[in-house]
Amino acid sequence: MNLERLKQVTYVDVTLWLMRAAVILLVIAGTIGSVIKDRYTTEQWVSMVMFGLTIGGIYALIALGYTMVYGILRLINFAHGDIFMTGAFTAYFVAAPLAKSGFLDEYLIVGMVLISLVAMTVCSCIALIVERICYRPFRSVRSLAPLICAIGASFFLQHAFRGMYGSSVRAYPDVRWFDVVVTILGFNFPRIQFVVVIAALASMYALYLIVHKTKMGTAMRAVSEDRDAAALMGIDVNKVIIFTFVLGGSTAGIGGVLYAFVFKQVYFFMGFFPGIKAFSAAVLGGIGNVPGAMLGGFFLGVVESLGPALFLDGLGIVAPYQLRDLIAFTMLVMVLIFRPQGILGERLARQRA
């Protein structure tokens, strides 16, 4: 019986198997190599994981926007990365005076809430405009138009903001409290990293509650599953979609502020690559799946952070950090090829008639 099965194996299968084997082998060989080289101390490994979680948390927050919009419209919101930029960039003009006047150091929480609110509002508004212009007109027509339209919106946003706020890099203010190094279990971390991870987790938990425990959230899931039936139940589909975009915009806004406080600078092109990475994270976790986006974000962050040191360095590849994007994209492609439903995938395997 096995023999008969073997007869059906094609060169495609062989290639795919070889690919998979090659990636796994490289990962294993690289890991062994790194372990043998023993270049890094435990503390360094731990801090790399922590960096990964920090950036991963931000990826996750952006990824939520992609995932929710995809879930409800079955469309990739290509402009989402730039929406993320708009909030962080605009919030700079609140953060800078706040910091300068000493308000931010004095009343950190109030200040942060204020800054986040500005970012969330701006992101939500821009998200709504994008929805209105690029998605609503094409909502029920299956075509590539919204994709192109969103790409157009992405260009437009970038360069409109460049024209508006200038092409220079704006530096986010330093906040004393964030930069304090704390020691946990003998490992040292700057406080901001915890703040980001906790804030990301908290936002995501809040989002989880909204999606799963509120009526609007349930309606969101209902619309994402069957828009027509939802409309027949008296659910205002437009409102639900707007709600989704606002939610996605808000999380992107929070992500933007956190990003800005971690990396301390914003500029008009900053949204593009985090956008692509976050999208990869969303796919990784299983697009359309809220906890998946979370998981995918953290996973991507950690792998990106550890990858060059763990896999590539061990293989003796020169300048491995230049290839960080390679790891992210390889992971994306491998997931799409071998597990298109993502890490979490569809919870309910159901055949649709």
Partner: protein, 235 residues
Amino acid sequence: MAILEVDNINVYYGNIRALHGITFNVEEGKIITLIGANGAGKTTTLNSISGILAPRQGTVKVFGQDVRQIMPHLLVPKGVIQVPEGRRIFSRLTVDENMAMGAFTQLDKATNAKNRDRVLQMFPRLRERLNQIAGTLSGGEQQMLAIGRALMSNPKILLLDEPSMGLAPILVDQVFESIQDINKAGVTILLVEQNAYVALQIAHYGYVLESGQIVLEGDAKTLITNEDIRKAYLG
């Protein structure tokens, strides 16, 4: 009293005419059925009533008000709800959440609780499965959920689209019994069915649709004995 008046509606899909001047009334408290083969225009008629399709000509009035002036999702709080063809339950939501979606426009908590009890009483099977993911229900249970979900909106008129579709005959009987019960509780029902035999058995009055036109109407009792119908639809 006619609480639903459909007056000479014409519906087009692009340039293709789907309905040719359909006119009928639905009396309060009755079960009215539209029967006809696939593609005869039954679902189109139903969609025009629930407002998700707009007729090019003609009017649909619910409680005397023109449907075209009401956004479709605002029709539900007015007491008109449609159970779509093929059940269309939200299969990834739990049974309870599905029912909550039916009550989406129903803001009053007390009414909600009452409706929920009523539905669960009518379909005790659903009570056992409240927290189950709806996609894992059997076909019959799904149909019950679809009807139960619609009832959560406290409707005055229930538009049922092919409730027998895809159900084993043995389940069809059960579902139709429930429909009769709902009607007895005071809900007007407009039933669209391909399975003319079962539909006419519970209906008060029936219309026969063919290629977008009403070709025959009459008391259900008379229709069921009509020779043409017997030959055409009952085999």
